[in-house]
């Protein structure tokens, strides 16, 4: 592909959603109304096709293509361009983002059909896609930060989409604040990078990675990772994501499952050259990722809101991705990111379809037995659920397995990560099965809702089917054979291979995790279908544990009371200090000035001319002084 074509395509990819945003936001309200969805979807289709074109055109290419649009800031040595880096990583992200977004846009045309904010929805959604594309295509940290903040803004707008209700407002604010903490970290990281390397472009920074002191590099990476924990909902900043489910379901699918929350993973993978040199930073990433995976999976076990189960599941899966990056397998992490985008978007859209069918009911305790009513939704969600539970040969199996296997092969105690990962896999399978069973099987628990349930329209089911195909096949197509599949060959040149792979043991490991997954499924089936053991009795027996889980390990409460309380105390103290010392000093000073002013105000005649005269006299004085000094020389 020649440079001009690449340039045009790379410009079209982000600009098409931006154009859709511009049209919809300016004209959507009055003139276009119900055309906005179509416009946005068409723009996304264009964008997705252009991204595919870029993939096909750059297949054989191993170096990164830089598409510079223009110089954004050029002050002295501080030069920032608006330019895109087209390499394997960004192309993969572009493809995932544009195609998933396209499907979700199409789905939303059905889902949001009767909403009075239809045009508003289809203004923010393409804007989000635009910022997301800027984030993944940027060739420097500052432009990435623009996209980073932009997706945060759109996330805020879309979580609070139904702003007339109090809960979405609160959720939007929470997401905003949590992200702010993370963004602060990211910003500090970026500033440190500039101070250390004198540039923000990825290629310059990575080329010069050796000049930084190891401690400084660790600090940079930890700050960047703090940003990633905010955006990608990891411990300690994960609590906003479950609340973000107050937004419309397509938003949850697109932003809070498939794309935006993976930005942290992408950023960490993109910064691999930094992290690799940064001593303990990778270990921190791995530990946090694993901890988040376990924690979120346990909370997901007891959630009753179908979307919240998904949300905690997303947090958990993101933990897996960070584990992948942390153990030095960014390819596996990116692979999981891609497959996760498919099956999690599918699951969200499927649950959206269920919610749509039940007229807005999200509580699984009111569902049950919906399988005959919603056949397409059921079968597609089943595929998605099995993929999430990592049952071979569906997509999730290949990618997740690779992450935990990488941990195992790393050795040196990293086997623990493998063990925890596999256990968490069983938990994942358990809550997935629980969710599916409670929703679709058994007896209907709410007759009224059941009677009125209906399958969603074509425009919603078609994306479900498309995503189901992806969720079923993506792993096999991209990841077979293990560790030498297409995705490895494609991304391979970007990342150095961390560990040698012992193929003979892969089969054993894969069997173990498959068995773990099946075990989880089976246990859930026994519990909820056969009531052996009865779930209520289990909850009673392990009452303390159950309470702990239902209350989300008391972390939310901890944040609300202790962290916020600590801050409140700090603010109170500083206010008191302010009153006593700073204000006291200022007041005394002011009193002094008052006395002085009372005497000096006679100079203030209120006649402008006098002031002008004073200025001129001052000028004369300065001129005379200058002349005197000049003449004395």
């Amino acid at each position: 592909m020649d440079d001009t074509t690449l340039r045009v395509l790379a410009t079209i990819v982000p600009l098409a959603p931006l154009a859709a945003f511009a049209i919809n936001v300016f004209f959507g309200r009055w003139r276009l109304q119900h055309l906005t969805g179509l416009i946005a979807s068409a723009a996304l289709a264009i964008s997705a096709l252009a991204a595919t074109g870029i993939l096909l055109g750059t297949l054989g290419r191993h170096d990164a293509a830089i598409v510079m649009l223009y110089r954004w800031i050029g002050v002295g040595t501080f030069q920032i361009d608006v330019s895109f880096q087209i390499d394997q990583l960004s192309t993969l992200m572009m493809l995932v983002v544009t195609w998933i977004s396209f499907l979700i846009h199409v789905y939303s045309m059905g889902y949001m059909h009767d909403d009075h904010g239809y045009w508003r929805f289809f203004s923010w959604l393409p804007l989000f896609v635009f910022f997301m594309l800027v984030l993944v295509m940027a060739d420097n940290y500052l432009l990435m930060f623009v996209g980073w903040e932009g997706v945060g803004l759109c996330s805020y707008l879309l979580i609070g989409f139904w702003f007339e209700k109090p809960a979405p407002q609160a959720a939007a604010n929470k997401a905003f604040w949590m992200n702010r903490i993370g963004d602060w970290g990211f910003m500090v990281g970026v500033i440190l990078i500039f101070l250390t390397f004198g540039s923000l472009a990825f290629r310059d920074v990575f080329a010069k990675v050796g000049i930084a002191q190891s401690e400084l590099l660790t600090a940079i990476c930890l700050f960047l990772f703090l940003g990633a924990t905010g955006k990608s909902a990891q411990i300690p900043l994960y609590t906003w994501l479950p609340d973000a489910m107050e937004g419309p379901t397509p938003v949850s699918a697109l932003i809070h499952a498939a794309t935006m929350v993976t930005a942290g993973v992408y950023m960490t993978a993109r910064s691999t050259p930094l992290f690799a040199e940064a001593g303990p930073a990778l270990l921190v990433v791995a530990v946090i990722g694993t901890a988040t995976a376990v924690l979120a999976a346990t909370i997901a076990l007891v959630q009753t809101d179908i979307k919240r189960v998904m949300a905690y599941s997303t947090v958990s899966q993101l933990g897996y991705m960070f584990l992948g990056v942390g153990v030095g397998a960014p390819i596996a992490a990116m692979f999981h990111l891609a497959t996760h985008a498919f099956f999690k978007a599918l699951l969200f859209l499927g649950s959206g379809s269920v919610i749509h069918a039940l007229g807005g009911q999200q509580d699984m305790r009111h569902m049950g037995g919906l399988k005959p009513k919603l056949p397409i939704t059921y079968w597609t969600m089943l595929i998605g659920g099995l993929a999430l539970a990592a049952i071979p040969p569906l997509a999730g199996f290949w990618s997740k397995d690779e992450i935990v296997n990488s941990a195992f092969f790393r050795g040196q105690g990293y086997e623990w990560f493998w063990a925890i990962g596999v256990t968490t896999g069983a938990l994942t399978a358990f809550y997935t099965m629980r969710m599916l069973w409670l929703t679709f099987h058994g007896a209907p628990r709410d007759r009224h809702l059941y009677e009125h349930a209906h399958e969603s329209p074509r425009v919603m089911t078609t994306p479900l089917i498309a995503l189901a195909v992806g969720a079923a096949l993506a792993g096999l197509v991209l990841g077979w054979p293990p560790d030498a599949g297409w995705v490895h060959q494609y991304l391979g040149p970007l990342f150095e291979r961390a560990e040698a792979i012992d193929y003979s043991r892969i089969a054993v490991l894969a069997t173990i995790s498959a068995v773990a997954g099946v075990l989880g499924l089976g246990l859930a089936w026994l519990t909820y279908a056969r009531r052996r053991p009865d779930p209520e009795r289990v909850a009673r027996t392990f009452a303390p544990l159950y309470t702990l889980l239902v209350n989300k390990w008391y972390l939310d409460a901890f944040y609300d009371h202790n962290v916020a309380g600590a801050f409140r105390w700090l603010f109170g103290a500083s206010w008191a200090f302010d009153l006593a010392f700073i204000d006291g000093f200022v007041n005394k000073l002011a009193a002094g000035f008052q006395i002085g002013g009372r005497n000096l105000r006679r100079l203030q005649t209120g006649i402008v001319g006098n002031y002008a005269l004073t200025i001129v006299l001052g000028l004369l004085f300065v001129g005379a002084a200058y002349a005197y000094l000049r003449l004395r020389q």
Binding site: G74, G609, N610, L613, L617, L620
Partner: protein, 166 residues
């Protein structure tokens, strides 16, 4: 041709200085405004003579086309007060007293300035491109700041003259 440039200079300088004097001395405020416009025009001519045509036309566009008209607007909206120069004289006396050293310094500065004997060089090809390069490349940031200043001034002016009831 050597005499033409100094001749033009003298004519333009006379216009500028006479216009400036008229601004100060004419009793009628509209007269002041018009002579200010004249002085600005002469100044534009001086700029053109210096080879800074772009600046010269900006001068016409902004000073003659906008500022003078704006001032005329101001004159007409505030009404023309009768030239009552004899109501409070104490301030004028002060000013006149101050003007003596001021004029003295002015004369000294003028004499001093006349000792710059080197001629002004005229570069070939006009000043449009160097100016554009300077403003939009080297001074891009100050330029942006200046535009923000203009915006602030505009909002401030609107806020100041906006009546409460509309």
């Amino acid at each position: 041709m050597d005499f033409i440039a100094p001749l033009i200079f003298v004519i333009l300088a006379a216009i500028v200085v006479a216009g400036g004097l008229a601004v100060v001395l004419l009793p009628r405020i509209t007269g002041s405004a018009l002579s200010m416009g004249l002085s600005f025009l002469g100044m534009a001519g001086l700029f053109a003579l210096l080879g800074a045509e772009t600046i010269a036309f900006f001068q016409v566009l902004i000073y003659v086309g906008a500022i003078t008209v704006l001032i005329l607007y101001g004159v007409m909206l505030t009404g023309v007060a009768p030239a009552g120069a004899d109501r409070r004289l104490f301030f004028q006396k002060q000013a006149g007293w101050a003007l003596v050293p001021l004029k003295f310094v002015g004369v000294v500065a003028t004499v001093f300035a006349l000792s710059f004997q080197s001629n002004v060089v005229q570069q070939p090809g006009g000043d449009l491109e160097p100016l554009a390069n300077a403003v939009f490349r080297d001074y891009a940031f100050p330029f942006e700041v200046a535009s923000v200043l203009l915006l602030a001034a505009m909002i401030g002016a609107i806020a100041l003259v906006k009546r409460g009831d509309d």
